[in-house]
Symmetry: C3
Amino acid sequence: MIVHHAVVGVHSPLHKPMFHDVTAEAAAAVAESGIATGTINVYSQHTTCSVIIQEESHDRTFDGTEHLLQDMLDRLELLVPACRHEGQYLHPGPKHIAHATGNLGEEAWWSLNTDAHIRSGLIGRSETIPVVDGRMELGEFGKIYFVDFDAMRPRDRKVHLTVIGE
Amino acid sequence: MIVHHAVVGVHSPLHKPMFHDVTAEAAAAVAESGIATGTINVYSQHTTCSVIIQEESHDRTFDGTEHLLQDMLDRLELLVPACRHEGQYLHPGPKHIAHATGNLGEEAWWSLNTDAHIRSGLIGRSETIPVVDGRMELGEFGKIYFVDFDAMRPRDRKVHLTVIGE
Amino acid sequence: MIVHHAVVGVHSPLHKPMFHDVTAEAAAAVAESGIATGTINVYSQHTTCSVIIQEESHDRTFDGTEHLLQDMLDRLELLVPACRHEGQYLHPGPKHIAHATGNLGEEAWWSLNTDAHIRSGLIGRSETIPVVDGRMELGEFGKIYFVDFDAMRPRDRKVHLTVIGE
C-alpha cells in the first residue's frame, strides 16, 4: 500500500466565481504514485471553495466560463445569492469584522463572501475518485474542477491531491 | 492493508430520474474484500448521476419510487428544474450539439439533460462509508442509492465500489 | 499503512437544527493514529445529519449558533423548508407511520423530519480531509461541524472518524 500527497496551486482573479480544471494535475499525481488500484481525494483547503466533477461542455461565455458551469452558477445565484451589501446575511457580524480588520489587517468588504461560504458548505469540499488500472474513473467526458466561489479579491488557492492504494 | 475494487451495473429505463438501491452489492464487496476496518467509496462514473445515503421510507408512488426519494426529487425540481426545451439553460450550446450529433452520433435532444448535470454537481458523485467489524456503518435504516437524474433515454450505468482497509 | 477508527458521541437537544464542532476530536484521532500522511473521513451515521467544513464566524445568535451556520440554515429553510405538518411532503406515508409507531414504538410526529432527511441527502454524509505532516489540512480557520437537522426530539448521535495512511 502506498499513500502519495501533492499540492496544486491555482490563481483566481477578481471579480467572478472561477472554475479551475485540475484533471491533468490529478492524473499526474496518480501516475507519480505508481498506484494501480485505489482512490484519489481532490480537496479544497479553503472554506469558500469546492471540488466538483462535471462534463466538458464545449461552449463558453465571453469570459471563458463553460456553459454547464455558468448554468450551475446561475442556479446557485438563485439558491444562495451573491452577498451585495452588509446586512444581507447575518455574517459577517461585528466581531468577525473586528477580527478580520484588526487581527488580520483585511479590508472589511473582503468579508462579504458569505454566499461563497454557504455554497462551499452545501456542495462540499472534495471528491473521492476510484483509481483502476492506474487511471481515474471519470467516464469519457468527466473533468475535475476546483471552484472558487469567492469573488471579492484575487486569491492564490491550494488543491490537495491524496492517492491511496497499491 | 487491502484494496478491493468492484463494479456494479444498473439499468435506468426512461423517462424519470431513477434511484437504484445498491446496498446489498456494497455489502457484498465489503465481505469479498475481507476488510474488518476501513472505508468503502461508492461512486458514480457518470456526470448526470449521484450517490446518496437515505432512510428506507416504506411507502412508494405508482411507479415504485419511495416517498422520501420522490420528496427529494420534488425539491430538486424547484431548485434545478428539468430542462424542457432548448434555451432554458445555456447548455447545450451549438458547439456541444455539433460534437454530440457529429462526433458521437447522438440525437440532439439527448443533450437536454442540463438539470441532471447540475444536480449531480451540487449533490456530488460519491459517498465514503466507514467499515467497522466487517460491516458498513449505515445506521439501522440507511440504504445506499445510486441516483440517475438523466431522464432523456434508457441508460446502462456503472457504480464503482472501492474498499480500503485491513 | 495504518487504519484507525474512533467514534464520537454528541447530544442534540430539541427543537432546532444543531451544529457540533468536532474538530478537536478529529485532530485527536489523527494524533492517536500516528499517521503522518493520509486522509481522515468524518462521517455521520444518521440519515438526518451531515458533516460540513466551515469557517469560524465569531458572532453568534441568542441560542449560540454561529452567524455563518445560521445563514446556511436560513437558506436551507427556503430550499427545503422545515416539515410543519402531515401532508406537507409525501413522507412520512401511512406504511412508514405504521412501522415507526407499531414496530419501533415511536410517536408519529417524530417522523415529521422529512426536511432533515432531504437536507442530509443533498449535502452528504461525510467529509474526507487530507492529513499532511500529522495534521488535518483545514486551512487557517476551518472547523469540522457535525450537523443535526432533525429538530423533532433530543437525540444521541454518533460521528465516525476513520484515519487511513502511513
